[in-house]
């Protein structure tokens, strides 16, 4: 339970001051662009080299944004160290069920050949994952949770037309975000109380640990239910009506930097789409010898 991951860090930078809606849309565009294919299509296969180059460009852009937003890049990479279980999983998966077979063999593990293609593919997947994590991290460290929900509400605004109560969901999300620290505090308190009764959350057999977890989860649920009931009462007592028209405490003001960044974002989107459709691939055009990979 490490609450520092993706936590908002108060700074006064261009990225922090940017309209949260632009940041959200930017994040979505960024995420999509990472997973698009850019390489030229050859029958059955896609050239991954061009993909890697494009993702490299995106990676540099992301680092630039992190730099402008004073997001500690070192901190970001520290968080990435949590990916190790994912790496292990991918390694095992790729080793036993290699998606890219053929081509040159790098080395053998036992009788099994490990192809360069498999290793390459693994690196490529990880690279994309890293970029995705960096993007979301930058978004969450530069955007206040309340602004985030505001942006989400705005994004889902069209759903109001088909009578989906978007603002109620937004309220639920912002309440959920607000209560994460409270929940962590509660959990710590209960863990300490149970530790006084001889529970050890770190040691013991699997069965003991499950039992130990139960002794944490049930009281946590009980107190959360109680808190949520009390919160609902308190909100009603202060006149909260979910169906009435709501005003905003924070007015969104559109400024020049928002216009400029929107334009930059639009340009980026245009480039991404163009490349994804046309698949201009210098590696193929100039016949750079590459391995044939399935992307």
């Amino acid at each position: 339970m490490n609450p520092t991951i993706g936590k908002y860090v108060s700074e006064n930078t261009l990225i922090h001051r940017l309209d949260s809606r632009i940041k959200l849309v930017g994040l979505i565009i960024g995420l999509v662009s990472v997973f698009l294919n850019y390489g030229a299509k050859t029958p059955g296969n896609t050239q991954v080299y061009m993909n890697l180059c494009c993702d490299g460009v995106i990676f540099i852009l992301v680092l630039t944004i992190a730099f402008i937003g004073k997001v500690s890049i070192l901190q970001l990479f520290k968080q990435l160290s949590m990916l190790w279980s994912m790496v292990l999983f991918l390694l095992i998966l790729n080793f036993f069920f290699p998606g890219n077979v053929g081509g040159d063999i790098a080395f053998h593990i036992g009788d099994r050949p490990v192809y360069y293609a498999t290793i390459f593919n693994l690196v490529y997947i990880l690279f994309r994952l890293v970029i995705v994590m960096l993007m979301t991290d930058i978004f969450t460290t530069t955007t206040k949770p309340m602004e985030m929900t505001g942006a989400l509400e705005w994004l889902f605004y069209p759903l109001k037309l088909i009578h989906i109560p978007v603002h109620k969901f937004a309220m639920a999300i912002s309440l959920a975000l607000r209560f994460i620290p409270t929940l962590i505090e509660d959990a710590n308190r209960i863990m300490k109380a149970q530790a006084s009764r001889g529970v050890d959350y770190r040691q013991g057999s699997f069965k003991d640990r499950v039992k130990a977890l139960v002794s944490l989860i049930i009281p946590l649920f009980m107190s959360s239910f109680m808190t949520s009931g009390e919160l609902a009462d308190a909100m009603e007592a202060r006149g909260y009506d979910p169906d009435s028209k709501r005003t905003r405490y924070r007015a969104y003001t559109w400024s020049l930097r928002d216009t400029l960044s929107s334009l930059a974002l639009a340009l980026f989107l245009a480039l991404v789409i163009t490349e994804a459709v046309l698949r201009i691939d210098p590696f193929v055009l100039f016949s750079v010898p590459v391995w044939q990979l399935r992307g």
Binding site: S196, R197, G198, V214, M222, S223
Partner: protein, 308 residues
């Protein structure tokens, strides 16, 4: 068995050296078979102090000895150009080292948290009280015996054994939770504001229970805001302020020290203040005899009788 604290300092956020320590150079000896009260304003470090007693928190620097169970975080210094400074690396090493058999300590020192009813989770009262002893390796039979004994002690009879703890009243829940600790048969019982949120009757029952437990040979350490409780039950009272022990005396001596109380914004209990007023008006009361309203009435009667 005494608890000895030597120069205990605790910081919640070690990485920020500018953060104010929650405990600062606290040294104290808590004697065997004593009833000690711990008072101080909110944020004075009472809860932090209490959590050190059974190893839930380990001191940033300092040493705690609970009858032979030693938590040694005594500072290591190294010489630098700027004189002797704390050797961070050596301290880190000390903190990383696993405390051996911390369960032994937790068995000796039972800790009841504020609002202990939050720790309840089993489906029946008896099962929940059994949970502690079982964790400490007791058999089912032994645990149940200990649980039944503890439940009888807190005044819950057999009709409660198979009820769900979640359908009990607040006061009853708290008694179940306290029984859950008592079933461990701790030699020292530490409580963090046990009377908060109870009505007058519940408070009286709970404190009555604590003095029964005390008379059976268990030391009691109590953090509280309730001065009436301090006056009536405690033999010794420690006052914490901003993480330091600023006073260590008997309740009688503390409540007579008006200047000190004013400085630490503490108020003596109503009974005591009333008695002081009476003394100012010329009644020769012996403050040492006054522990609550009843004993005040007795004392007034005694003084009046001796006058006649």
């Amino acid at each position: 068995m005494p608890i000895v604290l030597e120069h205990v300092t605790y910081r919640y956020d070690v990485k920020k050296p500018e953060s104010r320590p929650a405990l600062l150079d606290v040294s104290a000896i808590l004697q065997d078979r004593s009833f000690t009260a711990l008072i101080g304003q909110t944020g004075s470090g009472k809860s932090t102090f209490i959590q050190h007693l059974n190893g839930l928190l380990l001191p940033t620097t300092g040493k705690i000895d609970v009858n032979g169970y030693l938590i040694d975080m005594s500072p290591v210094y190294k010489k630098t150009r700027h004189g002797e400074v704390l050797d961070d690396r050596a301290m880190k090493k000390k903190h990383k080292k696993k405390q051996k058999n911390i369960k032994d300590l937790r068995k000796k020192v039972g800790l009841v948290f504020q609002f202990p009813e939050y720790q309840i989770f089993e489906e029946t009262v008896l099962k929940d009280v059994c949970y502690g002893p079982k964790n400490f390796g007791k058999s089912q039979k032994e645990s149940e015996d200990a649980a039944k004994e503890a439940l009888t002690l807190v005044g819950l009879d057999e009709s409660f054994y198979n009820r769900s703890p979640f359908e009990l009243s607040g006061g009853e829940k708290r008694r179940v939770a306290i029984a859950g600790i008592l079933a461990l048969k701790p030699e020292i019982l530490v409580l963090d504001e046990p009377t908060v949120g109870l009505d007058a009757e519940g408070e009286k029952n709970l404190m009555g229970l604590l003095s029964t437990i005390y008379s059976k040979g268990t030391s009691i350490i109590l953090a509280t805001h309730n001065m009436d409780v301090v006056l009536k039950y405690a033999h010794r009272v420690l006052v914490l302020d901003k993480g330091r022990i600023v006073s260590d005396s008997t309740p009688l001596a503390l409540f007579q020290n008006e200047d000190f109380l004013k400085n630490s914004s503490l108020l003596p209990p109503h009974v005591f203040r009333f008695a002081m007023e009476l003394i100012k008006k010329g009644l020769k009361l012996d403050l040492a005899n006054i522990r609550d309203a009843d004993s005040l009435a007795d004392e007034i009667a005694r003084v009046k009788e001796s006058k006649q």
